[in-house]
């Protein structure tokens, strides 16, 4: 089978084919781009959520740091003051005891 075509026909066919390939490529690229956009959007969303969580945690920690000295006594301070108070009580007791024995 012999197909005879004129140059202009071949040219228009070629241009048509190239147009088709170009359009198909463009559609494909658009789809890829759309999916990438969705994926990046999800990533961005996740990043924002994480950042909000971090900011909340930082805020809570700062609040904790601020209320810490109001609500808690240092272990060392407790031991120190308690021991001193008990030593004073013991001394007071021995003084009273001595006075009681004198009488």
């Amino acid at each position: 089978m012999i197909i005879e075509m004129k140059f202009w026909e071949v040219l228009s066919l070629l241009i048509g084919f190239m147009g088709f390939v170009f359009a198909a490529g463009k559609i494909l690229m658009a789809q890829v781009e759309k999916r990438l956009d969705i994926r990046f959007g999800a990533l961005e969303e996740a990043r924002k959520e994480t950042e909000t969580g971090h900011m909340r945690m930082e805020r809570e920690f700062l609040e904790f740091k601020a209320t810490l000295p109001l609500e808690y006594v240092r272990r060392d301070d407790f031991i120190r003051s308690q021991t001193v108070i008990e030593a004073k009580l013991d001394a007071l007791y021995s003084r009273l005891d001595a006075i009681g024995k004198q009488k």
Binding site: I79, R80, A87
Partner: protein
């Protein structure tokens, strides 16, 4: 009772009291010195070490002497019982009679 004797015996009792409050952790000698220094402002590091050593000899506390020079003290079972008035005190430590009821 002469002053020196009263002082060291009372200091031993105060050390035991303090270590009792620090349980279950081991206490640095420096912190003990700091606290005892509040009760006896003129206490020296040597005096404190002598009393710690005495209490260690009586098996009331366990001393960890680090090569760096720092001592660490931790009450033993006997020391805890003594502070809790479970065992007899014996001479050498000015433990007052139990003048309170729990």
């Amino acid at each position: 009772m002469d002053y020196q004797r009263h002082r060291r015996e009372a200091m031993r009792w105060n050390i035991l009291q303090m270590l009792y409050k620090s349980r279950p952790y081991t206490t640095n000698e420096q912190f003990v010195l700091n606290v005892i220094g509040t009760i006896y402002p003129d206490v020296t590091a040597l005096e404190l070490r002598q009393e710690l050593d005495y209490l260690s000899d009586r098996k009331m506390l366990e001393l960890t002497r680090q090569p760096s020079g720092t001592w660490f003290a931790d009450l033993t079972r006997l020391g805890v019982d003594l502070v809790e008035y479970t065992v007899e005190c014996g001479p050498g430590i000015a433990r007052p009679v139990k003048y309170w009821s729990e």
